[in-house]
């Protein structure tokens, strides 16, 4: 792992989006067992996964993991905790109204 240079990896993944009355959730799972670390960035390729209301969509996709450099990883480890407030229902939501 270098200090600043970013490495990227292409990995297969499975995305699951449930847009139903019973459950609203969305997850990405890496099929090859890849693991993300603090500060890494993940981009799932392809069109937005659109699950219409009442649908559960499970698709195989490819994702790029951009690995954080050592400094960014350390920084994220140090400061990530400060973003905990998002878990509170009354927190300042960052929603973007389109």
């Amino acid at each position: 792992m270098s200090l600043f240079q970013k490495r990227t990896e292409k990995v297969p993944c499975t995305v699951e989006v449930s847009h139903t009355f019973e459950s609203l959730h969305a997850h990405v799972r890496f099929d090859d067992g890849s693991v993300v670390h603090p500060g890494d960035e993940v981009l799932v390729h392809g069109k937005p996964v659109l699950a219409g209301y009442g649908e559960v969509v499970i698709e195989k996709r490819e994702a790029t993991i951009t690995r954080a450099g050592a400094i960014e990883r350390a920084w994220t480890r140090l400061t990530g905790d400060l973003e905990f407030m998002e878990l509170c229902e009354f927190s300042f939501s960052e929603e973007v109204r389109l």
Partner: protein, 360 residues
């Protein structure tokens, strides 16, 4: 949006047209949850045997799924007339629903990740059960939003996402408080509306009584996780606990005051409500936290008011493009936060058993 090589211009155009059509009919809210990673080895090393008996009872209760049939609409769901609603009230009500949805959704993402990455069966079982509840709540709120023509866009999955990091103990302090304060908020609103049904501006509040028991149970689980490792509740960690208490409590105060029309319509005095919620949360948190904030201290109330004023002033400054004024008010807000933090806390003797029943 990021460059995606495998999308053709025609496809993109078609997508945009569809999106545009949708946009005309509804307002779209893009969900933008954060993605987390943590020290999974530390999570795997958790040993719940010091609290085994209470742990088993709680897991059995979660597995029995007491709220399985609760999140269904029935004939008591009376859809409000959104067109007749004051625009300001509608905006704040939607904001309330969207931020609730985001919190449930973020909780679900976090719990699911912890379940998926771990190898510790106790931990995995717990987080799977809690992710189930959060996704169910999110689905229920989503349905309420759809009724008001607010569509949730889950397109974030194909946008670049950075993974942020939480130490396990910070996840425990933060989510414990978030679940227990969630319980206290929902039950306080519910009890208030029982007395004042004429102020129930949306049917979702009728579901809060059983709903908040899910939050309560999740809080119980985090209490046990922390009590299983007494280091987390003693020594220098007391300073962290105090930090989380002050941060969560004061954020709630500021945030609630940013929704005046919503609370007015519910007939709720925000100062009364927040004090009530914080008192309840503080009382409950004695089950595991070695300290308690002094909510009656004269500097507490004064500090909250001042924090709110500076936060609002900073936001106003940002809107009019005055970076200087914004920085000034943010610095003052930080000083107020320090002042709140330095109010002496009260010592608490942690009881022998953790388990509490929801009693408000």
């Amino acid at each position: 949006m990021n460059v995606q090589a495998d999308i053709t211009p025609e496809e993109l155009e078609r997508d945009l047209t569809q999106e545009d059509t949708q946009r005309m009919a509804t307002e779209t809210t893009l969900l933008n949850p954060r993605f987390y990673t943590t020290d999974f080895e530390a999570l795997d090393a958790i040993d719940v045997s010091p609290v085994q008996e209470e742990w088993d009872a709680l897991i059995a209760e979660l597995k029995s799924d007491p709220n399985k049939g609760h999140f269904k609409k029935n004939e008591t769901w009376d859809t409000p007339d959104f067109d007749a609603m004051e625009p300001e009230l509608k905006k704040e009500l939607m904001d309330f629903l969207v931020s609730s949805l985001t919190a449930e959704f973020s909780g679900c993402v976090l719990y699911k990740e912890m379940k998926r990455r771990g190898t510790n069966e106790d931990v995995k079982t717990l987080f799977a059960l809690m992710a189930r509840d959060e996704a169910r709540h999110a689905g229920f709120i989503n349905d309420a939003l759809r009724e008001a023509d607010v569509a949730v866009n889950l397109g974030f999955l194909t946008k670049a996402k950075k993974y942020t990091y939480f130490k396990p103990k910070f996840i425990f302090y933060a989510t414990y408080l978030s679940e227990k304060i969630g319980y206290a908020r929902y039950i306080t609103i519910f009890r208030h509306l029982e007395q004042h049904p004429e102020n129930r501006i949306h049917p979702i509040f009728k579901w809060f009584e059983e709903w908040c028991n899910d939050e309560f149970r999740h809080g119980e689980a985090f209490s046990l996780l922390m009590r299983a490792d007494p280091k987390l509740l003693s020594g220098h960690n007391k300073l962290w606990i105090k930090f989380f208490l002050v941060a969560v409590f004061s954020t709630m105060y500021v945030r609630d005051h940013a929704r005046p029309a919503f609370h007015k319509a519910l007939g709720i005095d925000i100062d009364w409500y927040d004090h009530e919620v914080l008192k309840k949360t503080s009382e409950i948190s004695k089950q595991c936290f070695p300290i308690e904030l002094d909510l009656e201290h004269p500097r507490w109330k004064k500090g909250l008011v001042s924090l709110r004023d500076h936060m609002f002033a900073a936001e106003a400054a940002e809107k009019r493009g005055s970076g200087m004024a914004k920085r000034y008010h943010m610095a003052r807000a930080a000083m107020v936060f320090v002042s709140l933090y330095t109010i002496p806390s009260k010592k608490n003797q942690i009881p022998a058993l953790s388990r509490l029943e929801p009693s408000y």
